[in-house]
Amino acid sequence: MLEIKHVSKSFFGFLALDDVSMRVEKGSFHALVGPNGAGKTTLFNVVVGRYPPDGGEVRLEERRTSGLATYRVVRMGLGISFQRSQAFLSMSVLENVMLAVLAHQGRSRALMRSFSAESEAKTTAYELIGWVGLADKTETPTAALPLGDLKRVDIAMALAGKPKLLLLDEPLAGLSRSERVSMVNFIEGLLRGLGITLLFTEHDTDAVLRLADRITVLHQGRVLAEGGPDEIKNDARVIEAFLGEEYAEG
């Protein structure tokens, strides 16, 4: 699905990514982990087209995406939910999701096409809002939502483009313990059900081990290890660099 080949990126002489290669398999939940400064955010920004890589390339379903602008990568099938909420806080849940639907829908059609299709967009938006479990909050201004619900709005907006691959940057950041549990269940239930391929970063190790089929560990801009959750949590190098002893099983 997504192939990152020998990607390097440096800023002012600091090598943020050093020959990073990884593959995200279709249908998998792939976690990207590592301590702060390991290069996760830089890699994310390369994948979404914010930074062109200095070397190497990124391919989404065999098509090269590195060097393209974000909107082009999105049109090729990437859904993005950044850590900072992308929702327009002055608008309601419905307005936000409708905007996302309209943004994706009109591309192949006439530029000035009027909102005659507004009802069509509304139907799609209601469906997406139902998926993320906010059906009773369609008219709520997003500014008034708790953080967990705001993330759901973001995810609904990202899903409006029917992405092949969804990128979630720290979906649990800022959430309370109970909100984390419900968010993990939500991601699992919704995205597995939709058959969406997921690439995500997360600091919460428990959540990573529960959600991910595959984990890539970045350390100082390099891939330190890659494997399934069981392999990773028992990998001596990973334990040393990141996890801490508590996750090793005897």
């Binding site: 602008a69 999105v74 992308q86 806080l89 002055s90 943004a103 909102f115 907006m157 409006a160």
Partner: protein
């Protein structure tokens, strides 16, 4: 003071307001979507008047198709200016944009002097409209009704575009968050070029529409941009409806202020601006600075 006289003053104010609206709405639109304070906006207005004079070769009968042509030229000029000059300074500190648009103001002024000469230009309305309508025993230029109708038409079309088309919805969203739109797969640079081109075209249309009633010189650019700023400060920078409301208030305050203080009517306009700045610094219909959680 009878009712007919008040109606006359009201209509005079409305005509002035119409011209102010066409002048200021593009400034507001551009600031809303691009975040750029365009000091050259008055220059595009002035340029529009000269372009009209040029395309109709001084013949008032060509006014209608001339205005259409000026709008088309305005779109092209606006698109080129955005693409070649503005795009490189997005994301730079604001003073880059201010310096750039101020430089543009100077370049356009000298460019117009070079191309069209420093002399004043005037056109006059087409023969079909070159007569006064008598209202309450006083003459009122028929052409003023054209300006009022034009402003209403533009306001209506803009409303339709912004509220009823997909592209309009994206433009409204661009005023809130561009990064977000890009993540939704919207070609934001192209959208911004289109908005800037539209804003410039509206300014050139405003200038062209004034030519039949007003003599123009390159110097009107500065007066125009100051008037435009007053309108958007009152109405709310970035708000199209704010520009409409601001233009209406200022037009009418001018028209009726003249009755109270004939020589200092402008003082009422500044007074309005001061009150708005004190009470609602973001303008009557502007958005207060957003707070993100």
């Amino acid at each position: 003071m009878d009712i007919g006289f008040l109606l006359l003053q009201f209509l005079t104010g409305l005509a002035y307001a119409s011209s102010l609206f066409l002048l200021a709405v593009g400034l507001s639109l551009i600031f809303g979507a691009l975040g750029i304070v365009n000091f050259a906006h008055g220059s595009f207005y002035m340029l529009g008047a000269y372009l009209l004079y040029w395309v109709v070769r001084g013949n008032p009968e060509g006014l209608w198709w001339g205005m259409l042509l000026v709008v088309a030229l305005g779109l092209v000029i606006g698109a080129l200016v955005e693409r070649l000059l503005m795009r490189p300074v997005y994301g730079r500190p604001e003073h880059y944009q201010i310096l750039l648009t101020y430089a543009l103001l100077l370049v356009i002024e000298d460019g117009v002097k070079l191309l069209f000469g420093p002399a004043y230009k005037s056109l006059g309305p087409p023969a079909a409209l070159a007569y006064p309508v008598w209202i309450a025993g006083a003459p009122f230029p028929a052409y003023y009704f054209v300006q009022i109708a034009l402003a209403l038409l533009v306001a209506g079309l803009l409303w339709f575009f912004l509220q009823r088309t997909r592209t309009g919805a994206l433009v409204r969203a661009a005023t809130l968050d561009r990064e977000m739109l890009e993540a939704l797969g919207v070609n934001v640079p192209k959208l911004l070029t289109a908005v800037f081109a539209l804003g410039v075209a509206l300014a050139t249309l405003g200038g062209a529409a004034t030519l039949p009633m007003q003599t123009v010189s390159p110097g009107i650019a500065v007066e125009a941009v100051i008037s435009a700023f007053i309108v958007v400060v009152v109405g709310g920078l970035g708000s199209v409806w704010g520009a409409l409301l601001g233009a209406f208030l200022i037009g009418e305050i001018q028209a009726f202020g003249v009755l109270i203080l004939p020589d200092f009517a402008i003082a009422f306009v500044y007074l309005l601006m001061v009150v708005v700045l004190l009470v609602r610094p973001w303008g009557l219909l502007g958005r207060p600075p957003a707070v993100r959680t």
